[in-house]
Every structure is written in structure tokens, then in C-alpha cells.
Symmetry: C2
Subunit: 347 residues, 2 copies
């Protein structure tokens, strides 16, 4: 009973050609070698590739499906962004296919292929923390599927893709300035993985705020987590063995701050008296912690609205170009959303 | 630009007939009045209903899409169930359309229509807390779409649908027994809305455990929340004005327990010394609270696996019946999953 549905990918693998070529062959595109086309169609028939035979009828039509790729299903921030996306797109008749990469670059690439296979009208994606290549995004673009990247972007990608981010530099800057204003003297920063873009931005904000306030930054007060799930304990250990311990710690994000609060309680260290804790995210759960978590709020729902709006724009632009027989020239767009301090009891 | 895609529902509304009738008319079913059929087809053509004209070709085929309806996008429990569903169904070639009801019966009904419109191969649904009718589930069944309900079910529905629940009675029973064994004397229960099935089950488990241990139950120790999001403070107020205050409180679920811990901190009441707090859910966040939350674990991922498995069975059974020219007789199935005590610091 457990027979797998054959996909475009299976055909591509067997013929050692790209997913994109298979897709073009199946929808009878003109710009393809007739021999390749025949090979693809024959193999598709042989292995019983049903979907795209049917979908061929849909080739020039819209599916009114939008694919959304997030790194994790159980992070409130992404759930809230999706609510924003859904509220924007539902009135326009779009439904969402939600898939998750599990913070894994290979799975993320599979997600893209899945959505290509489903002939979605567009893709909204937030990258896994270890994604470093943009081949999969390029693949979707070659399929003429508009893409918008939100929150977790590839800063060095030259692909002309709209991107929505929050002002991560300012998040780090505001968090640090808040602690300086409250009188904390030795402010540490537990960052995300060092090569992760938003982690670098927040750290730069921290350093800039420290320097502008005449503090300078000491390398031993900056400790990275290896990934976003574990190693918070190790990071804290490194800070606690310092000769001069920090009196405040900024966490890369709220989930890390929650873990930090828990660890400090276990070690009997009073928050904020002995060590203040500052998050960055604006997770609603922060209000319920003891002490409640000061944080920098990221406008998650608004991010969903704006990402969805940019996607709608691109879909319309592409359609218009096609209708007018013009070539569509995609452009890069970056929208940076402002962040806001939420002061609570932990600082 | 913001033109809404016409759906089956629009046609149904305009002709004042059921969604199910429209759908049958569009796929040219035999059991329908020819005049109605003509009206539907003409109106569909007039308002530009595209999807199902194309989808007509798919009528007897599979879409390999499964719809998942959950009450909230930002609750860890449901996110984890979906991970289980996805892990089970993805290797079989299915993709998920995830939609959410926002804890609203009407929106939930719209979700079902959306999935009917998308011609999904099956639906997995957890009901909103105020859903009391099963008309929408019946509608999907009339469309020959198999349904499985998980976690939040309608206990009185006579529809022959597979259901997967956890042993909510035992959850209440185990939570209460744990507190009795730890020596707590006056154990209160903050329940969910009183007419919500799983809330009743957990309460019954509490009462049974109290009685079996010779405690009896006092009505003033049982207070309901109005919905699942607010009114925890009001419930706590009712307990705190009692002449004899409780020394332990069981919360209907972990999110309510988190709120309770926060409120007790704010009032300067030590946990568990003055009042112990017990949750029911097994939310991973409970480990990070101070004090960390004792809870009854519900096997969320396993629930996803089992619900998906039941759906696969039903899809296969329906296909088999059809292939053999037999009428498919659906049956009710209830799978009840065991729960498990997680003892931490709050009790």
C-alpha cells in the first residue's frame, strides 16, 4: 500500500537532468531539446507520473496555492508570521501549503522541489540557520515561480528577490542601549551561530552601542551558541568563569533567553539583581516568565503582511509582462521593519 | 488587482443550494437534478469559476494533498502533532495544506469548504473549543473525503469517523493522584470551558481520584475558564478568596498553568511551598519555567502518526470498495493514547 507517488524529481534523477528541464519538457515548452523532451515524457509515462500530465492542463493557469517554508513548526514567531500571510492572502483567494525545513539545508531544498511539483503560484520562505547556498531559490525562479524571503535571508545572494527583514542591527543596538541606560556595567552577548546573518547584525548593533557609549567591547563577553537549540549552558559557563562576571546578558533571541532564565534559577542567581537578562523577539510567552522578560519586539504579523504583499506585487508584475509579451526583469527589494523595546522585569 | 477567486461556495450561495450539490454538479455526477446541474454549470462559467473546470479532469484521480485543520497556529502541541502527521504522510507522497480555525466554529466550517474546493484526498482536524455541530464534517463525508478527528473531538457526533484522543480521564486522574501522594490536602482544579469534552473528561478523572482516596470534592475548588485564553486571573481570584485556600492547583492545560505560575509570582505566593501547580499537556516550555512545571505528558507526535495512519487506512478502504464496485460503509473508530506523569519542581 505504501507506494510513493513518482515526482518530477525522480524523473530528473533517473535521466540525470535538472528538475527545471523535466518540468519544461512536461509542459511542452519550446526552448528544450526534442530528444530530451521525448525521454522525459516516455519515462514519466512509464513510472506513472500522474500529477503533471493532469497539471499540464493547468500550465498557463493559476493554482492559487502559495507555498510557505519555515525552519520550525513550533516557534511562535513563525506561527505568527504565517497568520499575517494567511490574513493577507486568503481574501485574494489563495490557500497556503505550509512546509518546514527542520533547520536543514537539504530538507529546505526538497521543500522547494515539492512546491515546484505542486505548481504553486508563489513561495514565501524563511531560511534554515545553516543555509548558505541559493541554488534552490534559483531553481524556483527558473520555473517562473515568484519568491519572497522573510526574516532569515542570505545577505550575499545576488538573486533578484524581494526580502523582508527586521532591523536586526537596531535590535542589538536598542537592547544594549537599554541595559546601559539602566546602569549595567558589564554587558555580555550570547549570539547565534557566528556565520548567521541576523546574528552578525545584532552583534554589530551591540558593539556599536557599546562603543558609542565609551564602553569598548571585550571579546570574552561575546559567546556564540553552536546552533539555536542547544549549547546555551556551555555559553553561560564561559561567562560565569570570567574573573569579572557580566551583570547583564543579551540573548540572541527569546527562546535562548528563556533557557538562560531557567539556568540562572537553577544556579541560584537572582534576576535581575545579580544578572539581568534581555531577549530579542517579542515572544508572547516572555510575559509569563519569572521574572518577565524584557525584549526587543519584532513585528511578526506585520512581517507576514508585507512579505505577502511583495509576493502579490511580483505575481502581478510577472503576469503583466507576460500579457504584454515583454520579458520580466526581476529586481531586488529589501524591506526593513522597525523594532521596539518592551521593558519588563528581567532588566 | 485584488479580485477574489470565485469558489464553489460562491456558486452555492448564489443558487441557494449546498456546496456538496455544486461540487457534484461540476463533476457531472449522476445523482443530481439536470436542471440544477445546468444552473450550476452556467453560473460557474459566468463568474469565471476556473478551478473546478480544470479539476473536473482530476475527478477520479488523487490530488495527494491532505488538509490539516488546527484551532491555533501558535500552540506547540498542535505544531508537534503536525510534525508527526507530516513524517508519516510525506514518504507516501502526500503534502499538507495547513489551515487554522482560530478557535471559531464558523471559520472552521469555511476551512472545510476550502479543502473540499481543493479536492484534498483526506482531512485531519482538531476542533475549535466552541464547535458543537458536525454539519461541516458531514459535508466533507458527502464529498467522499475521508476525515479523521484528533485531540478535540465531538463526543456526541454519530458520524462514523475515526478519532484519536489521549486518555483525558486518566490525565486528570494521574494529576490528582500525584498531588495526593505528595501530601497536598486541598486540591483545586481550573477547568476549561464546562461544555468542552476533554475538559469534562479531565474533571471526571480528578473527581474520581479524589473520591477513591476518600477526599470527596468540594464545588468551590472547581472553577472554569470562560475560554482558553483569558480569565485565568478570575479563576485564581475565586480560589484565593475561599476561607480555606487550596494548597495545590491543577490547570486544564500547560498554557493555563504557565499563566498561573506567572500570576502566583506576581502575588508573591511561593510555588510549590504555598501552592503547588500541576499542568496537563507536556509542553516542552514547562521545563524552562521557574519552578519547572510538573505535567501529564500527551504524546503529541505519536498522535500525529496514528491519526495519519487511520486516514491512510480509510483512503485505502474507500478505494478498495470503489474498485470492487461495493458501497463503502464507514465505521467509527476511537484510539485512546496513554498519558504519562512528568514530575518537576512545581509540585
Amino acid at each position: 500500500m505504501k507506494k510513493k507517488r513518482p515526482t518530477i524529481k525522480d524523473i530528473a534523477r533517473k535521466l540525470d537532468i535538472s528538475v527545471s528541464t523535466v518540468s519544461r519538457a512536461l509542459r511542452d515548452a519550446q526552448d528544450i531539446n526534442p530528444i530530451t523532451k521525448r525521454k522525459v515524457v516516455e519515462l514519466a509515462d512509464k513510472i506513472g507520473y500522474k500529477k503533471s500530465v493532469l497539471a499540464a492542463g493547468l500550465a498557463s493557469k493559476k493554482s492559487f496555492l502559495i507555498g510557505v517554508i519555515i525552519p520550525e513548526l513550533t516557534v511562535t514567531f513563525f506561527g505568527t508570521v504565517i497568520m499575517g500571510i494567511d490574513e493577507f492572502l486568503k481574501p485574494l483567494g489563495y490557500d497556503l501549503i505550509i512546509v518546514y525545513s527542520d533547520e536543514n539545508e537539504n530538507k529546505e531544498s526538497d521543500c522547494i522541489d515539492l512546491l515546484i511539483d505542486r505548481q504553486v503560484d508563489g513561495i514565501l520562505i524563511s531560511l534554515s540557520f545553516n543555509t548558505r547556498k541559493d541554488d534552490h531559490l534559483r531553481r524556483a525562479m527558473e520555473e517562473e515561480i515568484p519568491i519572497v524571503v522573510f526574516d532569515r535571508i542570505l545577505p550575499n545572494s545576488v538573486l533578484p528577490i524581494p526580502r523582508v527583514i527586521v532591523d536586526d542591527f537596531d535590535a542589538g543596538y536598542q537592547a544594549t542601549t537599554h541595559l546601559i541606560n539602566k546602569g549595567y556595567k558589564r554587558i555580555a552577548f550570547i549570539t547565534g551561530p557566528t556565520d548567521m546573518h541576523i546574528s552578525q547584525e545584532r552583534l554589530l548593533g551591540y558593539k556599536t552601542a557599546m562603543e558609542r557609549n565609551g564602553r569598548g567591547t571585550s571579546a570574552d563577553l561575546i559567546v556564540p551558541t553552536i546552533d539555536l537549540r542547544r549549547s546555551v549552558g556551555t555559553a553561560l559557563d564561559k561567562l560565569m568563569v570570567l574573573k569579572e562576571r557580566p551583570d547583564a546578558i543579551i540573548a540572541f533571541n527569546d527562546p535562548i533567553a528563556f533557557k538562560l532564565i531557567s539556568l540562572l534559577h537553577k544556579r541560584g542567581i537572582k534576576i535581575p539583581d545579580r544578572i539581568a537578562v534581555m531577549g530579542i523577539s517579542g515572544d508572547a510567552m516572555g510575559e509569563l516568565f519569572y521574572p518577565s522578560l524584557s525584549t526587543i519586539n519584532q513585528p511578526a504579523k506585520e512581517m507576514g503582511y508585507i512579505a505577502a504583499g511583495l509576493l502579490q506585487d511580483r505575481i502581478n508584475e510577472m503576469k503583466k509582462a507576460k500579457d504584454n509579451g515583454r520579458v520580466f526583469i526581476p529586481m531586488s527589494i529589501i524591506r526593513k521593519l522597525p523594532v521596539q523595546l518592551i521593558e519588563r522585569e528581567s532588566t
